[in-house]
């Protein structure tokens, strides 16, 4: 007899992250006590990571439908219609805990995992993005973690040959012991050739393809569902190891297999490996599955059924083949030198039955595994509202140029070039706009259509006000997509929070989901996929909450797209969404407040007006499509003047501010009021006429010039070279690679 035949205890259940109540619930649903393998399967399926037991009640409230949505949440990735019979397939997913323990492999396998979620649906991945959060720049671990995570992301993405073209990197002391590594992948497929995971056809063969199963990553999903402590560094062996070449072979073979009409359904083995893939495929099809564990390709001898089912070895897929397709499939796998094994078949039993050495080692009804995971309505306490600080308390007496320099040279705004130059941004030769601006843009290969992609979240706003902060994350993503000329289509989200068993954290989760839902509804960008990462706490200290938004938009002709770079002298610059006489702005909880005023307390962030966001967005897309603007930038962190400096540096074009001296306040320059854009136009008359038609407030602020300077009123002048130097040097200096 194998070990699996023994009865388990409540202590073993606890070790696997289940509560005593949950163990009782399992025994009751089964009508008996599970053996070790069975308990392992339950603990993985009922983990927070797989079952969303703390967040599901609230996730259900998010808007998930719209005429553009082909498949919403519940599949491996979301699918939206982008026109011309094509679909964009995308999702974002976290690999936070593994990346802290083993930054290179944690980040690399995060990229590999999200790519599999996308190509599993029959889509060829075309873009990668990542949202990263590290601890304070001067924290002892930060450089080590930045270095490892960035080279891990590059190590996987560069090798597999998908351009990494967007994302964001932020620093905050709350991430000292819990970094965030969220990877997003976007793919393209024919809208009528999307592959789903539901098994069908009783008797159809179940095949295993890809890398062999080893002892790495056992119970990774459970690790991702618990708080961290110092001793967890001993969990290093539970971090999976990535093999991007194997990932590439698996991607090419899977896409070739799907194109050959051999596949009934397909699912990658991600979190909880063979367990979640076999359970999800058979339960979604309303069927059952038999698996002979002796047929599973294994990397080392003597692996127990428990280990085989819970391994998270990378680069593996489970496929239900059409009955006559085995030979065709075999030929494809031989070409790509991939392991291929028939490990079982689809049944109508409603059970997952596992055998090893001709004995049944697990026999579980699928219904309770999938549908009876507890759903908690955890107590939640709303984050108390905070007051803003008056500008008068924040404004410092210094020239605008000095404040601007200090902000551009701070961790909030400094260039991320050191990060993105380690990513291949040009492979596939369809990159139109790459990292460093607002959204990135890739061409739909062989067409003039383009996909705009971005990730956004300003965690200091969310910490202060989860509802407004989450709305702002959606609004900023919407503006970033819009600023390229693309129409925002849909979102994916990665909800990174602390321990949901604490009512204040649960309050952040509830507030954020409500804010996100309101914004996604109002802006018609439904949520089509997502991921939840809870328990981002170490020794009781939770992270600043980060509900990261990934968004995709479409532009019908990439030749119309614009970037943030100023193009030529003699153009007029306007702030869109601001009236001509606006003299002050929202400095509370701004980059200015933190960097210049040294105010690090959480204070009220700027509020979001979704009606203005939509109205201004429509106007901007009109201006771009009519070629009335040559450069567009969303105004976000650092306010209008930071945006202006970024546009000048990107284009190497000077700017002269034309406002009256009394209008050039620090609040005007650095306020972070929302729903605003900065645009450059060679046709101000037409732009102003359109603003009147659209009923939009605009403020004419400057002219572009060829003097390579920012003239900020009076004698306050700073050269673009000097700005560039503080902007570009901060991160290389932090990483100790200023001199190569």
């Amino acid at each position: 007899m194998t070990e699996g035949a023994e009865h388990t205890t409540v202590d073993q259940a606890r070790d696997m992250g289940l509560s005593a109540d949950e163990f009782d619930r399992i025994c009751e649903r089964l009508g008996r006590i599970p053996n070790l393998t069975e308990l392992g399967i339950f603990s993985a399926m009922w983990s927070e990571h797989c079952s969303y037991k703390s967040s599901r009640r609230w996730l259900k409230t998010l808007p998930i439908s719209g005429e553009q949505v082909i498949h919403g949440p519940g599949e491996n990735a979301g699918v939206v219609d982008i026109g011309d019979g094509m679909a964009a397939v995308f999702k974002i997913e976290s690999h936070n805990h593994p990346s802290f323990i083993e930054p290179y492999q944690g980040a690399a396998t995060g990229v590999g995992g999200i790519l599999r979620d996308v190509f599993t649906m029959g889509a060829r991945p075309v873009a990668l993005l990542n949202a990263l959060r590290f601890g304070a720049p001067d924290h002892a671990l930060t450089r080590h973690l930045v270095s490892g995570v960035v080279s891990g992301i590059g190590g996987y993405g560069n090798c597999i040959g998908i351009p990494t073209i967007g994302g964001e990197t932020h620093f905050d002391a709350s991430y000292n012991q819990n970094i965030l590594v969220n990877a997003m992948a976007v793919g393209l497929a024919r809208a009528d050739r999307i592959f789903l995971s539901a098994a069908s056809g009783v008797g159809n063969p179940v095949i295993y393809i890809g890398a062999k199963t080893g002892r790495d990553g056992i119970h990774g999903a459970t690790m991702a569902s618990a708080e961290f402590s110092e001793e967890d560094m001993s969990k290093r062996p539970t971090v999976q190891v990535g093999d991007p070449l194997a990932g590439k072979l698996l991607m090419e073979a899977s896409l070739e297999l799907m194109a050959s009409d051999a596949v009934v359904s397909i699912q990658d083995m991600g979190a909880a490996g063979l367990t979640s893939s076999s359970v999800e495929m058979s339960s979604k099809g309303g069927l059952g599955m038999e698996i002979d564990l002796d047929q599973v390709p294994i990397r080392e001898k003597g692996m127990t059924p428990y280990e085989i089912m819970l391994s998270e070895s990378q680069e593996r897929m489970l496929v239900v083949l059409k009955p006559d397709a085995t030979e065709r499939a075999q030929a494809i796998f031989d070409k790509w030198d991939l392991d291929f094994a028939i490990i079982g078949k689809v049944t109508d039993s409603g059970h997952l039955v596992l055998t090893a050495q001709d004995e049944i080692v697990a026999d579980l009804p699928l219904d309770p595994l999938v549908n009876d995971a507890p759903e908690y309505d955890r107590p939640h306490e709303a984050t108390p509202p905070l007051s803003p600080i008056d500008n008068a308390e924040l404004v410092q007496d210094m020239p605008l140029s000095d404040a601007l320099k200090a902000m551009l040279g701070s961790h909030f705004l400094a260039s991320r070039r050191w990060v993105y130059e380690q990513y291949d941004r040009h492979v596939m030769a369809d990159t139109v706009i790459e990292s460093g601006g607002d959204a990135a843009l890739v061409r739909v290969h062989g067409t003039n259509r383009g996909l705009a992609v971005t990730t956004d979240c300003t965690q200091r706003y969310v910490l202060a006000d989860p509802y407004q902060g989450a709305m702002q994350a959606v609004a900023e993503a919407y503006r970033n997509i819009t600023a390229t000329g693309a129409k925002p289509l849909a979102t994916t989200n990665n909800l990174n929070f602390g321990n949901p068993e604490k009512s204040a954290i649960m309050g952040q989760i509830v507030g954020s989901i409500k804010g996100m839902g309101a914004a996604c509804s109002a802006l018609n960008v439904p949520v089509v996929s997502g991921n939840v990462s809870l328990y981002n706490e170490t020794d009781g200290q939770a992270i600043a909450p980060a509900p990261v938004i990934g968004m995709v938009g479409v532009i019908s002709d990439i030749k119309d797209a614009v970037t943030i770079a100023l193009k030529q002298a003699g153009e007029t610059l306007y702030i869109i969404g601001q009236s001509q006489d606006t003299a002050d702005g929202w400095l509370s909880n701004s980059v200015y407040a933190h960097v210049i005023a040294g105010n690090d307390t959480a204070t009220a962030p700027p509020s979001v007006d979704l009606g203005s966001e939509q109205k201004h967005g429509e106007y901007i897309r009109h201006l771009i499509s009519q070629h009335l603007v040559s450069a567009v930038h969303d105004i976000g962190d650092g306010g209008a003047l930071a945006a202006l400096a970024e546009m000048a540096m990107a284009g190497n074009i000077g700017v002269n501010l034309t406002l009256e001296a009394e209008q050039l306040t620090h609040g005007w320059a650095f306020g972070e009021d929302q729903a605003r854009y900065l645009v450059a136009s060679a046709d101000p008359t037409a732009l102003e006429a359109a603003a009147a038609r659209y009923d939009i407030n605009i403020q004419k602020i400057a002219m572009t010039s060829d003097n390579m300077q920012l003239k900020l009123g009076g004698s306050d002048i700073i050269s673009i070279e000097e700005l560039n130097s503080v902007y570009e040097n901060w991160l290389p200096e932090l990483m100790g690679s200023k001199k190569q």
């Binding site: 560069n158 090798c159 040959g161 070449l245 590439k248 130059e421 291949d424 040009h426 139109v432």
Partner: protein
């Protein structure tokens, strides 16, 4: 126009890109070969694309250089055929002993992806670049982890004497104009007969307006015309 072929290895990831770029220039799809194939038709120009042929877990290009198709490739070289190896393709050519020198890990120990400025050196043994002008300046991106070209002083002298140092990183005055620490700023070298070119930068990534320039297309056109 030259009759062009492209060879793919399991981890090649720029094969589609170079095929697209060649087709834009010649108007026809180049022939494609898989690394396991053991016969190859006669072609004027064979291109080894960029990528990570076998994952680069051993030295880059070392396993690919011993692939079944490489026997046919050697035949093509002995016949005096033209060859362009881009990035990983360059690494394969040095590993196969078709081009001198080797490509080591970048000096800064990081992958690097950005535009660089290149200088073309026109010499009598640069048949493959005969259509380019002497000292022509081209802006083309690199993307590699192992592009730090190295050869011993004797080899370098011999190469210089024979005009094999065909493309260098232009000293623009920027601190990091040479993206990887390559000796003598070498970005690309040719064989003694001038018909084989190994190049670290990716010309197929500056081949259309959306790429922000067409300098790469100009270089590729020169190579294709030379082989025609």
């Amino acid at each position: 126009m030259a009759n062009v072929a492209v060879i793919s290895f399991p981890g090649s990831n720029c094969d589609r890109d170079i095929i697209t770029a060649v087709k834009h220039i010649t108007g026809t799809d180049p022939a494609q070969y898989w690394h396991k194939e053991t016969s190859m038709d006669k072609h004027d120009l064979v291109i080894l694309p960029g990528g990570f042929s076998f994952g680069d877990y051993l030295r880059c290009g070392a396993i690919a250089a011993r692939s079944p198709i490489m026997d046919e490739m050697m035949e093509h070289v002995w016949r005096g055929g033209y060859v362009l190896g881009i990035c990983n393709g360059f690494q394969i050519l040095t590993e196969a002993g078709i081009l001198p020198g080797t490509l080591m890990r970048n000096k800064q120990l990081q992958f690097v992806c950005r535009d660089v400025m290149l200088t073309i050196h026109q010499t009598e043994s640069n048949a493959i670049l005969a259509q380019c002008k002497e000292q022509m300046q081209l802006q083309i991106p690199v993307a590699h982890n192992e592009g730090n070209y190295f050869a011993d002083p004797d080899t370098l002298k011999k190469m210089a004497d024979k005009g094999q140092i065909a493309v260098t990183y232009t000293n623009t005055g920027a601190e990091n104009y040479n993206p990887n620490g390559a000796i003598n700023d070498i970005a690309g070298v040719t064989s003694e007969n001038g018909r084989v070119l190994g190049l670290m930068p990716h010309p197929e990534r500056k081949a259309e307006d959306i790429h922000g320039g067409q300098d790469g297309r100009l270089l590729l056109t020169s190579v294709i015309e030379a082989a025609s």
